[in-house]
Subunit: 454 residues, 2 copies
């Protein structure tokens, strides 16, 4: 039927590629140090062009090797640049299984196992948050999406007609969040037709925590100008300073003004695993929704982002549903509440909960708790050491130069940023149990060494 391509035999024999997979696997597991090159140089080193003809298996393995060699390794113990780091082997195996099986979480029929696992993880996280009557939720492609979902549910609860009629049929809605919040709040307001100018930025104290009295003042002020407050976003673990907004006090205000309270705990949610530190999120059981990324401090593979909602009236489903008849047939032979696809704005959705489920199974809550405690203790150690070392405040002003040198040397990665008009400073993110006290000392020595002539 097609020239030179009979339909009778499958042209792809998977068994024959098994040895290729095994070789590639060996390579992935080899340790390698990052080798920095600027874009134009790296383009020369990588053979990027896509051609008409294919290449040999040996050549493909070379290309894989190059991709690994020249990549930055967030899995390396000296990577402190982002709010994720390290490599959790159980979670990695779960990632590999999901990549190989290609499940997608719209219907129970297509993903029976991962639907049930997602339910099990959500149930456990909801218990950990402390919602005694349960709740609902799903895993999203990142915390930005979870924060947006919170905003959409809050809008839907206040003004269900907006789903059909749009914001042009509604008053000017107002969002409240602290000046230290993640930028996804602003991105969500832009995308959702709420508008970035309707995101009201509440001042934080010098430690980075939202000031509740300032929040109440702003709510009053916006209302007096005709705006309609509908959601407050509190942050548990801010991106730059790692501050925890005072949830309990903010919840009092939200109750008073009948506002949805969402907590962006993408980074800080992990402290809920720790009896020693969970007081940082006192009041979390009172909030309406939580975004929590186990791919950050709990080290699940990217991405693993839970969105939790306290509502028990199928709000998530009602807000997001489109009821596609080809996918969500109503004459199925099993309980349709297991078809979770219409709770999501995505269509295909990956079973990211499995990555966390498997590592929890292997480690248990007790080991997760110890890891959180250890990471916080490590950060404390580093802070103490810095106060002991001369020259470290001064160094802040030369951060971009030190950063360039550390990248080119490839020795480690630490992010820097200015903050509220002050000079650039290095932000150390300490997560992984692969990191030891010696690594903390290495970081300080290395920053000193890279910047001592400046």
């Amino acid at each position: 039927i097609v020239d030179n391509d009979p339909l009778d035999d499958p042209p792809l024999d998977f068994a024959a590629t098994e040895s290729f997979l095994r070789q590639a696997m060996t390579m992935i597991l080899e340790d390698a140090v990052c080798e920095w090159h600027p874009p134009e140089e790296l383009k020369e080193l990588l053979d990027l062009e896509l051609r008409d003809g294919g290449e040999s298996e040996a050549r493909i393995l070379e290309l894989c090797r190059d991709a690994i060699r020249y990549s930055v390794k967030p899995t390396h113990p000296h990577f402190f640049n982002q709010l994720f780091a390290g490599l959790e082997p159980y979670s990695l195996v779960a990632s590999f299984i999901t990549e190989a099986l290609k499940p997608s979480l719209y219907t129970y029929e297509v993903s029976p196992v991962f639907t049930l696992m997602e339910n099990a993880v959500l149930k456990k996280l909801i218990q950990t948050v402390g919602w005694e009557e349960g709740g609902d939720g799903l895993f999203n492609a990142g915390g930005s999406m979870s924060n947006m979902y919170a905003m959409n549910l809050a809008r839907y609860r206040h003004f269900p007609e907006i789903k059909e009629l749009g914001n042009s049929a509604a008053p000017r809605l107002a969002v409240f969040t602290s000046q230290e919040c993640h930028y996804s709040i602003s991105k969500a307001a832009a995308l959702m037709g709420i508008g970035t100018k309707n995101v009201f930025v509440v001042p934080s104290d010098k430690r980075g925590k939202m000031i509740p009295s300032a929040l109440e003042e702003q709510i009053k002020s916006v209302k007096s100008e005709g705006g309609v407050p509908f959601i407050v976003n509190a942050t548990a673990g801010t991106t730059v300073l790692g501050a925890f907004d005072p949830i309990d006090e903010i919840a009092d205000i939200c109750e008073k003004y009948k506002l949805w309270l969402h907590v962006d705990a993408c980074w800080g949610g992990a402290v809920l695993m720790s009896n020693k530190h969970k007081l940082l999120m006192k009041g979390i059981h009172r909030v309406d929704s939580v975004a929590w990324n186990p791919h950050k401090m709990l080290m699940a593979c990217l991405q693993c982002s839970a969105f939790l909602v306290r509502d028990k009236t199928r709000l998530l489903q009602r807000c997001h549903s489109a009821r596609a008849s080809y996918l969500f047939q109503q004459d199925k032979f099993y309980n349709l509440s297991y078809d979770t696809g219409d709770k999501s704005v995505q269509c295909s959705r990956k079973p990211d909960a499995f990555k966390f489920w498997l590592m929890w199974k292997a480690l248990g809550a007790s080991e997760l708790e110890q890891r959180v405690d250890r990471a916080l203790a490590m950060a404390r150690y580093l802070a103490d050491e810095i106060t002991k070392r001369e020259g470290f405040r001064l160094l802040m002003e030369v951060a971009p130069v030190v950063k360039e040198r550390m990248m080119k040397k490839g020795s480690m990665m630490v992010g820097y940023q200015p903050h509220r008009g002050q000079a650039n400073f290095f932000r150390m993110v300490v997560i992984s149990p692969q990191v030891s006290r010696q690594d903390m000392d290495f970081v300080l020595d290395e920053i000193h060494s890279l910047g001592k002539d400046l």
Copy 2:
């Protein structure tokens, strides 16, 4: 510093877990047939509960084995249930590499290799679409997100002030799409504050193609009622019937009324790889944006979803940017145009382009073309066989029962749905080169066998 947990040594020794990874890998590569169980029964079979204590490595491998055993395998040759199927080994290796390296695509600094690879793939796809002056784009967490991006860019181009002020400061915007379009258009309109009632559904002909004259009538009618049309979504490869809207004729109308033309080619985009079939998308070089998922007919691992935009004025960046100072520092030591993070609504973003890049490298455009041609020829063979077999029209009315029987037997998976008030019918999705003519015959025999007593 923490009780019983010295900071001096890393508690996680990755090398020690290597044997675990290798064992798991062996298991993933084993073939296994789906074993169907209803939710309550499967809950009993899986040990879902998350506990305080961890479990042994042997037990974790057992759990992995169960997860694989009871999962549906979209990779099996007899899976025809979704618009993706089969397993592409090169793409799978790329998936494994990205899972193991944990890259995220906001800055060049963190993902130098994958930033350049994404650029290379986008460039090639843009050439394939036929935009001679180039364009822009990125890979998203699914086609629904790409369709939403198109809608947001179109809105931003027409009314840039909505980003700051929201839709309540704007007129009632109107979206046009065919009655056969994907449900993500409606979901995007709901989330974006445009409203599902402002999505105007244009009639399709009996083959499922949008009727251009009906589109123009609707545009006129909406304008006369005070609505403001701003985007038309055409579909290349509709979800249920696989129809291609007539892009060239729709482009004429969009030019006349100055509307953004987006093509949802998530499913059908693959025909652009085929000289024989690309005429199905005649006029694609004239459109403003395209969503194209190589994870569907081109078999890249999930997810691999390209969003392409013809604009050359940094519209994607301007529309979505939030300019977070901690991530997108302006005093960096390399060309900042390689920091793509602010083009996205996501924060962490996976390097999905790599999965397609590596398989293209291995196979070449010529092999990709042959696969597309073969899949379309296979579908033609099946259609011809059906007309020859007695009883196949009648069977439509018993689709739910046949479906239940095929799931419980675990022999194959084919989706069914009603269409425009007609009875349920089976939708065969033919993609993978693992599938042969014998499999087509098997499907017909099996449907006959499962339903012959009905």
